[in-house]
């Protein structure tokens, strides 16, 4: 989830007084076939009890159409209200279906002036070929499907071998060693494709400005802020994930520090990210 703040266009509009705790938008699939249906969920948490959020403005829908719109809200134990707007969309022709950023203009009581809170836009690839999903869920499903086929194949092979062995034993009843049924080799499941891990790998392989900025962008996304935000925004959203916080700070030094300090900051960034990605130390 991300909260990006920007000033609303008109200064004197009657905006509601709302403190937005979190705001984000995500799709349940990254890759769909033409005319497939997928969901996009907009998630907004406000720090007060409300039963409506009419101020939420949806973005534009390119190459997809809305076929369903469901809104619900939940009062959280701490008194905040979470609003979920689940849009069911139908993909259009092959290309990219884009749902531009949703936004909300409000006066934050803590700041006292109007702010615009925006989500990130969401893009879904629409392809004519059978989708080979890049998301973890669909990848797991694909591997599961292949694993089932493999099991069936091995079962059939074992059954055939057993039958052949049985026939041979009947034809030549000498004491032969029992057939060994080959075990399927253990295939480790690949790690879920993680944009942060990919950016980290790219930076580890070639430390240059391009890979560093890409990694910094992914760190910001991991913390929950959009491009164009600053380190303080990211740290405010990163919570208590210590390694992530260290990585964010070191990425800043590596990106904007003097040349002499960048190498050292890059080393510290790698160290912090290794700890973060391995899940050690900060209960990721």
């Amino acid at each position: 989830m991300s909260v990006a703040q920007a000033g609303p266009p008109a200064p004197a509009a009657p905006y509601p007084r709302l403190h937005i705790v979190a705001m984000g938008m995500h799709a349940d699939r990254r890759l769909v076939a033409p005319h497939d249906r997928f969901s996009v969920t907009i998630d907004v948490v406000v720090s007060q009890k409300r039963d409506r959020l009419d101020e939420l403005v949806l973005g534009n829908f390119d190459d997809c159409t809305i076929v369903g719109d469901e809104r619900r809200h939940t009062i959280l134990p701490n008194g905040d209200t979470q609003f979920l707007e689940v849009l069911t969309l139908e993909a259009g022709s092959p290309g990219t279906a884009t749902i531009s950023a949703a936004h909300l203009d409000a006066i934050d009581p803590k700041v006292g002036h109007p702010l615009r809170y925006s989500t990130d836009p969401v893009s879904v690839r629409v392809t004519a070929a059978p989708p080979i999903d890049s998301t973890y869920v669909s990848l797991t499903a694909t591997i599961g499907r292949y694993a089932r086929w493999l099991t069936v194949l091995l079962g059939a092979l074992a059954f055939t071998m057993f039958g052949v062995s049985f026939a041979l034993r009947r034809r030549r009843p000498s004491a032969a060693a029992p057939p060994v049924i080959a075990q399927a080799p253990a295939v480790p499941l690949p790690a879920p494709p993680n944009a942060l891990a990919l950016a980290f790998n790219a930076f580890s392989l070639a430390r240059d400005e391009r890979t560093l900025l890409a990694l910094r962008a992914q760190l910001f996304a991991e913390a929950g802020v959009a491009a164009g935000a600053t380190l303080s925004d990211a740290l405010a959203r990163a919570g208590m994930r210590r390694s992530l916080r260290i990585a964010l700070v070191e990425a800043e030094a590596a990106a904007f520090g003097p040349a002499a300090a960048r190498v050292k900051a890059g080393d510290a960034l790698v160290e912090a990210l290794e700890a973060y990605l391995s899940g050690s130390g900060d209960g990721r």
């Binding site: 000033g7 609303p8 200064p11 004197a12 002036h113 109007p114 600053t230 800043e252 990106a255 904007f256």
Partner: protein, 305 residues
């Protein structure tokens, strides 16, 4: 060698709350600039300035600006000495490390100009002599947002000389309680000098050496340029605003112990640098528009690198 953070801590012992103001004053001192303070009477504008001068062991002079003030009342004059038969120079209150120009908008333009010339050149001319001000030198000018009668608005060319404008708000209830407990029985006491004038000069030199990446330079330029391309703004900020923002961002990085400027430095200081440099369209006032919100929107619409 002390660190400017020591001055911030010392000021916090005298000033209750107003943390942003205290930090901004120290930042401006480190950046070598002047500050415009706007706030209602009684929100510790003068106290902050006195405390700052005390914390650095510098000389402090206060000039109460009034409609009948003369330039010589600020810069000084030459007086004929009958015994020696010669003219002697009497230096005015502007010859101090920290000069508080109280209610600067109550004096006419020629008096304001006398001070603002010194702010730019760090020296004043009295008769045939051009005399340098003591260094460090900073003017902290206050303006009261109320009581507009009998005031002379500062021209934009003069406002542009101020590095930043700080708006002081009212304290919170808890802070007000502390103020009453602390100062109802006795006057404010100032923490003795925690730094020297040499320290301040050293900070200013070091802050100027703080690294500013090209992308951050471009970011702050984009913000300044965006102020000229905003429909509600008639006159945007000048290139001097970009210089001021760069200087203050470097000072903030130095204050935080960093050798480089981050986008946060720029974003957090941009409103203070821009707010007094913009001239707003009459429709903003006519529709009760909030100039502060416009400044915030200008800063917010430029994505940080």
């Amino acid at each position: 060698m002390t660190h400017p953070r020591e001055v911030v801590r010392a000021l916090a012992q005298t000033i209750v709350g107003q943390t942003e103001t205290v930090e901004a004053l120290v930042l401006a001192l480190v950046a070598g600039g002047h500050v415009l303070l706007e706030g209602a009477p009684g929100v510790a504008k003068t106290l902050s300035c006195r405390a700052l001068a005390a914390a650095i062991g510098g000389s402090f002079k206060r000039i109460q600006f009034t409609p009948d003030l003369l330039p010589s009342d600020i810069v000084g004059t030459r007086i004929y000495d009958q015994r020696s038969g010669e003219f002697t120079t009497v230096r005015g209150p502007v010859f101090a490390n920290i000069v508080l120009a109280d209610e600067i908008n109550r004096a006419p333009a020629k008096v304001q100009s006398a001070l603002l010339e010194g702010m730019q050149e760090h020296r004043a001319t009295i008769g045939p002599e051009s005399l340098p001000f003591p260094e460090p030198f900073a003017v902290l000018a206050t303006m009261n947002p109320f009581d507009g009668d009998g005031t002379y608005a500062l021209p934009f060319a003069q406002l542009d000389r101020f590095l930043a404008k700080i708006v002081l708000g009212n304290p919170t209830r808890d802070e007000e309680r502390t103020i009453v407990d602390r100062y109802a029985a006795h006057d404010a006491t100032f923490v003795s000098a925690v730094a020297t004038l040499d320290d301040v000069r050293h900070w200013q030199t070091e802050a100027r050496a703080v690294f500013l990446d090209d992308r951050i330079r471009d970011y702050l330029i984009d913000i300044v340029r965006a102020s000229r391309e905003t429909p509600e703004v008639v006159h945007g900020a000048s290139p001097r605003a970009a210089l001021a923002l760069a200087g203050l961002a470097r000072a903030r990085a130095y204050l935080e112990g960093r050798a480089f400027v981050t986008p946060d430095d720029v974003r957090s200081l941009a409103p203070a640098v821009l707010r007094h440099r913009l001239s707003f369209d009459y429709r903003v006032a006519a529709t009760d528009g909030d100039p502060e919100a416009i400044v915030a929107s200008i800063v917010a619409r430029i994505p940080a690198p």
